[in-house]
Symmetry: C2
Subunit: 206 residues, 2 copies
DNA sequence: ACTCAAACTTTACACTGTCAAGATTAAAAG
DNA sequence: CTTTTAATCTTGACAGTGTAAAGTTTGAGT
């Protein structure tokens, strides 16, 4: 597990710490992560990380950003694969749950001890907001744009579905929850109901 | 903060550790909790907890059980306050979110690093299952019992609503989620929709 | 070739969980 | 009422943790 190196300088320690750290979180769990362990795994002294991060928290943040980036790309890739907006929305729901089911440690790592900021109001510019949420929001907005719901009502619906997906993913990634079926189907079912009941409002704004 | 005592034996150390531990989690956060700190706060040496718990994990489990118990009682108290089942269900939804909004650290503590087992299938006897879920499930079952849904379909609906409440509570207790409205209203809205669309199935079982 | 700042190491300290050995004492047994 | 016993608590130790300070190495720019 422990790497050696011949040069005094590692040349890419910052990235190595991030990626090795994520690997530890993924295989041994969030609690097994430590600065000294990740330093050793990179073949570097225990205080070396302090050349690149002020403290443990900062490395964790960088790891979370890295994961968020991969997550965003995975969500975005569902947009390319299809051109039916309603279908994209379903694919994205599946992608959302799948990403965390395939890497269960990520969910707790990202959402429960994280510094990631998510703004569900309409006040903050998209590029300062949590990217996976924006990607999801933009797709649902496209669907809802065909209706005559007010902007607030649309935002309300978006948050409702997001909360559901988030809840399902949380349950799906918990060790000790026994559920016989596939959580992804649950998301699809929910979106079906949503699309049936919300997408034919062509009347007045409410 | 640190207590003193005159007798060599504490007489109630086990409970003291549990309740003081919960207080630390609640005020300083999950990560601030340590065996040595809670021992000191109880006025006892750092290894004293090992007379009552095999390790840190066991004390954490006891604390989680204690919280779960209080949570269960809070949910159950909504049943007494009302006799309209549909209203009880809403009250319980409010109680669910409120419990964790009032003690935000509890949510992460209970659900993300917990050993609590939740069985969403129909296979396990209620008394071996996660009590708050059973309390909630029994109320919704009472409502659904008036319909003609199959047992599986009923269980399906119950899980859907539970996942939503769980997701909302998760978002509501996250530090860095900005949401302008009251999450409890979101739960109520959801239950209204549910009661409208699911509670008038009096036809064949599906 | 020299300088210098960035990258890394070493040493040190306080804090953590846990174990083993010992001290105290409440309660059971005589 | 003494004696025994076992539960409870203390002390001391050890490895592991995050982090600060001081020292070392080395690549890059003058």
């Amino acid at each position: 597990m422990e790497q050696q190196r011949q040069t005094y300088h590692h040349k890419d320690l910052r990235n190595a710490l991030i990626e090795t750290g994520i690997q530890i979180v993924n295989t041994e769990g969030v609690n097994a992560f430590s600065l000294r362990k990740v330093a050793a795994a990179c073949g570097v002294s225990h205080a070396a990380p302090y050349s690149h991060f002020q403290n443990k928290e900062e490395l964790l943040e960088a790891m979370q950003l890295f994961i968020t980036d991969r997550f965003s790309k995975q969500l975005e890739s569902t947009v390319q694969k299809n051109n039916n907006v309603a279908e994209i929305m379903k694919d994205m729901g599946i992608a959302y749950v799948s990403f965390f089911v395939e890497n269960p440690a990520y969910f707790q790592f990202l959402y429960s001890q994280s510094n990631i900021k998510i703004d569900l109001s309409l006040s903050i510019p998209d590029d300062q907001n949590y990217k996976p949420y924006i990607i999801y929001k933009n797709i649902v907005s496209k669907l809802l744009g065909q209706t005559h719901y007010s902007e607030e009502k649309q935002n309300d619906i978006i948050i409702t579905i997001w909360a559901f997906i988030h809840g399902v993913t949380s349950l799906a990634t918990m060790n000790n929850v026994n559920y016989d079926n596939d959580w992804r189907e649950k998301v699809i079912d929910f979106m079906d109901v949503f699309q049936l009941s919300f997408l034919n409002n062509t009347g007045e704004k409410i």
